[in-house]
Symmetry: C2
Subunit: 250 residues, 2 copies
């Protein structure tokens, strides 16, 4: 004759014990004793607490160190969530913090003036004006210190497929390789523009991103001052905040 089987899963008291274990450790920094568990979970006998702890151990919710006071390690809580060790948690914070890069917003880029380039003493921790970009979106090799952001002002760069209000992520550079998009100051025209850069012999060809438009050929390379390379363009159609007054967070 078969006797009754224990129902699978956690009973009310199992759950209570796990809650006590989690709460106690969170507030005190160390696990409770059997008697403390009994008091908080309203289980009057130490042997009964031990009885439940044994079951929780078999079910993989806790680990116990035999004969050691407070020798209980919580592995999963009542909700089944895995409990992290402090060390692991710290590592996770570290890893997650690296997932986002805060790129300083150095200013605005307009056609009528050279593009701003932050100096080496630029305050990178200006909380008010930074653009947050997931690191996975950026080329891994970058040094984050070389990156800065500019907000585009005006419609003058539509031939580069860049609109008023767009944010361009730039990398410091004074020269470029063929095929890279750069911000250039054209000294003769007194104009800033975003173009694909091609050095062809002595002259420089600046190709618009819009394939329907014609390139600019500059015979004297001294008239082409490279302000930085364009790494990314971000356009927010539905702004988190009002357009230009509040800090831009991307």
């Amino acid at each position: 004759m078969m006797a009754r089987k224990r129902k699978p899963g956690l009973s009310e008291r199992h759950r209570k014990v796990l809650d006590v274990l989690e709460g106690f450790h969170n507030t005190n920094g160390f696990p409770p004793t059997i008697r403390e568990i009994g008091q908080m979970a309203e289980i009057p006998s130490t042997s009964l607490v031990n009885y439940y702890l044994k079951q929780l151990q078999e079910m993989g919710y806790i680990e116990r160190e035999s004969r050691r006071s407070r020798g209980i390690r919580l592995l999963k809580n009542a909700a089944g969530e895995v409990i992290q060790q402090v060390q692991q948690a710290a590592e996770n914070v570290q890893r997650q913090a690296e997932a986002v890069l805060r790129i300083p917003l150095a200013g605005r880029i307009v056609a009528s003036a050279p593009a701003p380039v932050p100096g080496s003493d630029f305050n990178y921790f200006d909380e008010e004006s930074a653009v947050e970009v997931a690191r996975s979106l950026l080329p891994g090799r970058e040094k984050p210190e070389e990156l800065y952001a500019l907000e585009v002002q005006g419609d003058s760069m539509i031939d580069a497929m860049v609109n008023d209000g767009d944010i361009v992520i730039m990398r410091r550079a004074n020269e470029a390789r063929n095929g890279e998009m750069v911000a250039v100051w054209l000294a003769d025209k007194e104009e800033t523009t975003l173009k694909y850069f091609y050095k062809e012999g002595r002259r420089v060809r600046l190709q618009p991103a819009n394939p329907t438009m014609q390139p600019i050929i500059i015979e004297d390379p001294r008239h082409v001052q490279i302000q930085g390379k364009v790494v990314m363009v971000i356009r927010q159609l539905e702004r988190p905040v009002s357009r230009s007054a509040a800090p831009l967070a991307v």
Copy 2:
């Protein structure tokens, strides 16, 4: 007559005790007893361990619960770093995890076919094809489940200032308010396009983002099928990985 004063700061044994406290708690999940500290820090007498613990408590490195076994909370380690409680650490992880949103890449958008819209059973946890975007870049009110990403294929959307290879972040929607940019399928022309949406009486005006281009007027609203709203456009000039084969991480 003045007797000698204790040197300020931590002695070798202070440091040793703190190291033991940190290491023991990291490996066991609970603090050591006085005798365990003594063994590991090579301090033979319990009273001497107690003597040092008292000093560390006065210096603010630890907290002690009187008369409780293992009643030691580490506040700062030997390097002076503040030790986080498990709960705090978990909250930090939580907060940091929320800083980045993984948006599923639902497919490609081309002019010649309706834009893909993921079904409600879409697998959001497809690790291979997701775009990571900092939450601060997105409008806060969004339900993340409503967002998906599309990669633009072809040059057909240059009038929307969107280029081949760009990534558009979309939000599910079947209708739009005036001024919002939407992806629409034009049933009569059999064409997908990105335009600013304006309902004017019975007819619909679709305005290109490029201000130099002319709007499309559609007299029969049934020919305009809204596939989704455009929330953001991301253009990566220097790709982290090869253009289309590998997973896109933004």
